[in-house]
C-alpha cells in the first residue's frame, strides 16, 4: 500500500508540473461547471420560455414533473444536456494524465529503473491508474458540487431545483463518472503500449469522448432521452467494459512487454 501511495504522490508531483496537464485538469471542469450555471443565469426570469417549451422532444415533456410549468420544464431539459457534457471531465482528465505519466516515463527513460525496484506490476498499475483517476473523479465531483450550489442559489423554485438535480445527475456523477474514469485510464494504458509520444497517446485516448458527444447530440436532436434506466444500463455496460479493459491492461502492462515492446 505504501508503494502505491508513493507512486500516486510521485505521479502528481511530476504530472501537475506539466502546464498542459494542469490546464486540462483545472480548465475543463471549470468550463463544464460554468456553462450550465451560465444557462441558469440567462434563463432566470426569461418570459419567452413557455412558447419554446413546445419544441422539446415529446418523451421529455412526458418525463418532466407535472408541477412544473412548460418554461421550467424547458430549463430542466436544457440544463440536463450538460449533464452529458459533464461526463467529458472523468474521461478527458485521466486520458491526459495517464498519457503523460506512462508515455512520459518511456520518453524520459525513468521507467526501467522504476521497474527494477521490488514494486509489483499490480502495485505500479494501480498506483498509476489511481493517480490518473482520482483527480478526474474529484474534479467531476467538485464541479458538480459547485454547479449544485450555484443552482441552489439561482433557482428559487425548489421543485425546479429538484427536477434539475434529480437522481439522473447523481447516478451520472457518482456512478457513471468513476466508471468512465476507469475506462479512460485503462484505454490510455493500452494506447501507451504502442506509442512513444504523450500527445499522440492523449489524442488516441480521447476517442473515449466520442460516445459522450454522440449521446449529447442524440438527445439534443430528440433521437433518445437519457433517463434513469439508460444511465443505469450505461453503468452496467461500463462495469463489464471496465472489467474487460482492466484485464487487458493488466495483461499488457507486464515488465517484459513494457521494456522490450514499448519502444
Amino acid at each position: 500500500m505504501d508503494k502505491i501511495k508513493t507512486i500516486i504522490l510521485k505521479e502528481w508531483a511530476e504530472v501537475f508540473k506539466n502546464r498542459f496537464v494542469l490546464f486540462t485538469v483545472a480548465f475543463l471542469p471549470l468550463i463544464m461547471t460554468a456553462i450550465p450555471i451560465a444557462i441558469l443565469v440567462t434563463l432566470r426570469g426569461e418570459a419567452g420560455l413557455e412558447s419554446v417549451s413546445s419544441e422539446m422532444p415529446a418523451q421529455f415533456t412526458a418525463f418532466c414533473p407535472a408541477d412544473l410549468s412548460g418554461g421550467e420544464c424547458f430549463q430542466v431539459y436544457l440544463v440536463s444536456q450538460f449533464m452529458i457534457m459533464f461526463m467529458i471531465v472523468p474521461l478527458a482528465i485521466p486520458a491526459t494524465i495517464s498519457s503523460y505519466s506512462i508515455v512520459g516515463e518511456k520518453t524520459t527513460h525513468s521507467l526501467e529503473p522504476l521497474l527494477a525496484t521490488p514494486i509489483t506490476t499490480a502495485e505500479l498499475l494501480v498506483g498509476k491508474s489511481l493517480a490518473a483517476a482520482i483527480p478526474a473523479v474529484l474534479a467531476t465531483w467538485l464541479g458538480f458540487a459547485v454547479f449544485a450550489a450555484g443552482a441552489w442559489i439561482l433557482i428559487p423554485n425548489k421543485a425546479l431545483f429538484a427536477a434539475i438535480l434529480d437522481l439522473r445527475w447523481l447516478l451520472a456523477i457518482f456512478l457513471v463518472g468513476p466508471l468512465m474514469a476507469i475506462m479512460a485510464v485503462n484505454l490510455s494504458v493500452m494506447v501507451s503500449s504502442r506509442v512513444n509520444d504523450p500527445r499522440v497517446a492523449e489524442q488516441i485516448s480521447m476517442v473515449v469522448i466520442l460516445p459522450v458527444l454522440v449521446a449529447f447530440f442524440g438527445q439534443l436532436a430528440g433521437l433518445f432521452l437519457i433517463n434513469r434506466q439508460l444511465i443505469l444500463a450505461t453503468g452496467g455496460v461500463l462495469i463489464v467494459l471496465d472489467m474487460i479493459m482492466v484485464y487487458l491492461a493488466v495483461r499488457l502492462f507486464q515488465r517484459e512487454t513494457i521494456l522490450t515492446r514499448w519502444k
Binding site: A13, E14, T108, H109, S110, P113, A116, T117
Partner: protein
Amino acid sequence: MIKTEGLTKKFGPITAVEDLTLEIPAGEVFGFLGPNGAGKTTTVRLLTSLIGPTSGTARVNGYAIGTDDTNIRRSVGVLTETPGMYDNLSAERNLQIYASLYEVKDPQGQVEKYLRMLGLWERRSDPAGTFSKGMKQKLAIARALLHEPHTVFLDEPTSALDPESAHLVRDFILEIKKEGRTIFLCTHNLDEADRLCDRIGVFKTHLLVVDTPTRLRAQVFGRKVVFHLQKADEALAAQVRALKYVKEARPIDNKILVTLDDPETHNPEIIRLLVGSGAGIQFVGELRHSLEDVYLQLVKNS
C-alpha cells in the same frame, strides 16, 4: 553472487543471449564486454528479473530468477544504460521515492549518505532536470545503491561523462568494491574494465571467454618479455629460442622479444644465458597488450 546455467533469451526468431553459463563470486568486479547489440543489456535485464529467460536458469544473491523475482530486485541495484530521473523533482525527492519503493529502513539517512558521498548534498533541492549529465549519472548511481544491494549492475556508468566525472565514478566503484559488493560492469571503456575488473567476460550473444585481464592477454597473445640489451642480434635470439620453454624469440633493434608462458619462472634462466653470452642487459620488462587489442582479437575471431 551470480550463477547462470545455459541462460538463453530469444525474441521471436532473434537470439539475444545464448547458453550463458557463468559464475561470479561475491565481492568480485566482473567486466562484461561486447559490441553494441551483443546482448549485454538483455543479460542485465535477465539477471535483474526485468525479463524472463527462454530457457536456462540463473541465481542472483541466492535467489532464482523466475521464482524469486521480487527478492532479486530487492537485493540488487541497477544503473541502467540511460538512467532517467524525474526531472521536475528535486534530487532529494527523486531518491526519497526510490528509498520508499526499495523499503529502505532509514530513508532520509540513506538519501543524505549517498547525496553526500557523491557530492550532491548542496544541490539536493535543485530539480534533477537542471543537473549536468555527470551529476545525473551520480544521482542515478546513488539511486542504485540506496538500499545497500549485495550486487550492483552498472551499465555503461561512465559513458559520455567528462574525464573528471568519469574518474570520480570509477573511484566510487572501487569504494563500493571495498565494501564487498559484487559488481557487474557493462562497459565499452576497455581501459576502465582493465583498471576496475577482477575478471572480464567477452560476450557476443554467447560468452566468448572469461578470465582475468592478465590471463586474457596471455591467452590471446601469449606473454611477451622484452630484454633491452646494449646490442641484440639474431645469433643471441637463436640461443634464447633454443630453450625448450621459449615459444618465440626475435631481435628488434637493441631488444629481444621473447614469448613464453611463465616469465616469473623462466626469466632468471634467460637472463643468466644472456649474461653468459656477454649481452649487456639494460632492463627487462613485460610487453603489455592493451585490453582493447585482446578484445578486438576475440571479437574478430568470433
